[in-house]
Structure formats: structure tokens, C-alpha cells
Amino acid sequence: MIALLESLLRMLVWLLLAPLLPGIVNRVKAWVAGRRGPPVLQLYYDLARLWRKNVVLSTLASPGFIAGPAVAWVAIAGAALLLPLGPGGSGPSFRGDVLLFVYLLALARFGTAWAAMETGSAFGGMGAAREVSYAVLAEVSLITAILALSVQSGSVTLATMLAPSAGPGAVLLAAGLFAVLLAENCRVPFDDPNTHLELTMIHEVMVLDHSGPPLAAILHGAAMKLLLFAVLLTQAVLPIGQHPPFVAAGALAAGVLGVTVGVGLVESLLARFAFRRVPLLLTTAFLLCLFALLLAWKGGAA
């Protein structure tokens, strides 16, 4: 009973805090540009508004048009539940849950890409193709980073993997995971979330045809994914598990806030890269994670 309550509470934290992050990113961008910017809670208002609206359904779309976003949202929420929240621990923790974590993220991507192609619009398919081709490269880095963490800690459970710090390769791992975060969440050097030019959009072009509650689910899922990667990055780098609960919770919150502000700064200081330069950046991220893995390996042996 207590365990169930705890899981519910953790889920609530994930669900309620996630839309805060894009608000903070937008606030940082506005601050750097000298504007006032939208309120931090803007995404909450947007979600409430979208939830009350009707869905516009194409006559071509199969039920997958609605099911895709739902599958994606549930998969991301499941991945979020697996990830430990500092002193809170993780709910259903078991040996090898990190594999499930990676697969749930992949399933979420499949859901979004599937729904994008449902209406038969050319743009949806184009965006989905771009999303998955970037994901192929980003996923390699993510898996290498997870391997580095698991070699470092000698475990394949997320909770024990993320408790200690990443050891000597922490800086490399942080840089690599940050690039993965930017790529997976379609942030600026890879994709511009503010763009309205269909030919250059990636994530936004996939959700063009959605409206009402499914769009709300997609937006909320994207926010949750950002929070998920920020939490993963913070816990991978900082030794959260070795401190008393309050310090750990504070460090986690500060780390997530720092990552979010970093995303905002990157977004305001960098322009998005041309498509042909993206593989280079993702290869760099992969190499950073690979060298972190080697350091963890050699450091463990010595």
C-alpha cells in the first residue's frame, strides 16, 4: 500500500513538474534576448487549453493517429517511473531495468513517428524520417553512456548505476549526454523548436496534423522527456546517492535547473546546424561517451 502510494507520488512529481522545464528554457531565452518572455507556467495553460479542444481527424487517418501519441506518452511516463529520483529511489526497480528504459524511449519515438505518417501528409513522413535518422546516431551515444555507467558501477540496475558519480570520465560523459539530450529533445543545434518553416522542422513537423488532447499528450510527453534526460544527466554525473536525502534532493533540483538553463543558453547563443553537420556533432557525442566508457573500464582495471 505504502509502495503504491509512493509510486503514485513519484508519478505525480514527474507529471506536474515536467511542463515547468520548457517554461524555464523559454524564460532564459527571453532573458538573454532582452525580452520579457512568456510566463514560466505557459505550457500548463497551453495544455489546459488543448485538453478542452476538439480533435480534428483526417478521413484518411486510422485509429493509430490517436494511439500513436498515447503509446508515446505512456512509454515516456513508464521510462520516467523507472528512473530513480535521487533520495526518492525508483519504483519498480529490478535487475536490467536500464534495458527496458532504453526500449521504452525507442517505443515512444516509434509512437510519434507512426502517428506522424498517419494522415498521409508528405511533411509528416519527412519529419519522421529525420527524427529516426538522428535518433539512430543519438541512441548509440546514449547506449554507450549507459554502458560506461554500468561498467563504472558494476551493475545493470538504474538505481545503483546512477547513485555514485561517473568517476574520472564524468566530464566526458556530461558533455556527451548533454549533446544526446539536445538531439533527443530536438533542441537547437539539431532542430529549432520555434521554427515554422516546414522544410527545416523535425519534431514540430511530425506534430503538425495533431490537435486537441493528442497534441497535449505529445507536448506533455516532450516536456517529460526533457525532464527525464536532465535527471539522467544530473544523476549520472553527480554522486547523488552518497549524501543525506535533503542535500541529494537539493543537488538533483539544482542540477536539473542548471541543465535547463544550459539548454536555454545554448538555444540563444547557437544557431541550428546545417543538416550535413549534425552527424559530425553526434559522432563527437558518441566518441565522448566512448572515451568515458574506456576510462571507466581502464580505471576499474587499474
Partner: protein, 213 residues
């Protein structure tokens, strides 16, 4: 002491990859300059006792590799109106992967070498091998003469790292002689670059393969 040296060699390896991956000539030159400085301070860390001659060599190395040669190269770039794009024969992603594979192979292969026990714990040999490999990739895989000079410099940095193994055996005169050679070499290359630019209106070495009256 060893961990500081290893950290610096790790930084130098990272700079190798940066030089392989960057698409602008000034950033290649900058990473070579920083690598020269990082490698230049290393004799001070390796030598246990402070010696003014070692300090002198380190200071001169940092000065020549970190400031003098990069300035020469940037000036050559500016005066010969070379545009900043690096033109690769081997693309950036393949050369990065090659460099990374070379680095990993160097780290793995150095374990198999019969090194002295005091050198076995350091990354000196892997760092040297990785830099030499990176230098080769840059020499082979870039079309512009300036980026080939950068490749040559990275190659030389690798050889310098090898030389640090023998720091107790090499007379300092040899070290300063190498440095002087390097400077003169870069000087000559700078002049050649200028001549190529005047004669062919471009620094593309691909055009130098055709013999003509």
C-alpha cells in the same frame, strides 16, 4: 605527478580529435597551438628536480609552438587570402572515427610494448602514437597546404612526446635544435605556401599533381 601528466596527455588526445573534426582552418590552428602549449609544459612535470635549463626549454617550446608558429600560420592565411574552410579528402566523420580508433588502438597497443616500469603507468607512449596517427590522417586527408602543415605539427608533437621518455638521456642542446629545425621548417613552408598561392592562385594541393610546361 603522473596523474597530472596523464590528464594533460588526455587533453592533448582530445585536441587531436578536435583538429580532425573542425571544419575551419583557424580552429585547427588554435587546437594545434593549445596542444603545443600543453605538451610544452610537460618536461617541467616529468622532471622531478627543478632545473633552469628544463624550464628554459619548456618556456621556449610553449612560446614557439603556442604563439610563434600559430601566428606565422594565421599571418600566412591572411596574407595569402586563403578562405577558412578546410577541404577534406577524408570526410570529418570518417577522420574523427579513424582518429578515435587510432587513439584506442594506441592505448591498447602500448600495453603490449616492453616499456620501462616507470613509463608503463603513464600515457606518454599512447599519446605519442595517437598524435602521430592523427598527424598522418591530417597530412593525407586534407587538401589545403595550411592544414597539412597543422598535420605535420601534430605529428611533431607526437614525436616530442616520444622524446620525453628519454628526457634524462637527451642533451638539452638536441631539444633546442629540434625546436629550431621546426621553426625553420614552418618558415620555409610559409614561404612555399606564399609562392604556391602566387603561382597557382590557390593552395589546393590537388592542383600540384599535374606537370606542365
Amino acid at each position: 605527478m603522473t596523474s597530472t601528466v596523464n590528464l594533460l596527455i588526455g587533453v592533448a588526445m582530445g585536441l587531436n580529435l578536435l583538429a580532425l573534426g573542425s571544419s575551419r582552418l583557424p580552429s585547427v590552428i588554435r587546437s594545434v597551438a593549445v596542444q603545443g602549449m600543453v605538451i610544452g609544459v610537460m618536461p617541467l612535470l616529468i622532471e622531478e628536480h627543478f632545473d633552469w635549463r628544463v624550464a628554459f626549454v619548456a618556456a621556449v617550446t610553449v612560446g614557439v609552438k603556442g604563439f610563434f608558429i600559430p601566428n606565422l600560420l594565421s599571418r600566412a592565411m591572411r596574407s595569402a587570402h586563403i578562405d577558412r574552410e578546410v577541404e577534406p579528402f577524408i570526410g570529418f566523420v570518417p577522420s574523427l572515427l579513424l582518429g578515435a580508433a587510432g587513439t584506442i588502438a594506441a592505448v591498447a597497443g602500448a600495453r603490449a610494448l616492453p616499456l620501462l616500469p616507470e613509463h608503463a603507468g603513464t600515457l606518454l607512449v599512447p599519446g605519442a602514437l595517437a598524435s602521430v596517427l592523427t598527424g598522418f590522417v591530417l597530412l593525407i586527408g586534407r587538401a589545403k597546404a595550411i592544414s597539412q602543415v597543422c598535420g605535420y605539427l601534430i605529428l611533431e608533437n607526437g614525436i616530442y612526446l616520444f622524446g620525453l621518455l628519454l628526457i634524462n638521456a637527451t642533451p638539452l642542446l638536441v631539444e633546442s635544435g629540434i625546436l629550431l629545425d621546426l621553426t625553420v621548417g614552418i618558415f620555409v613552408i610559409g614561404i612555399i605556401v606564399d609562392r604556391i598561392q602566387r603561382a597557382f592562385d590557390s593552395l589546393d594541393t590537388r592542383k600540384l599533381t599535374v606537370l606542365r610546361e
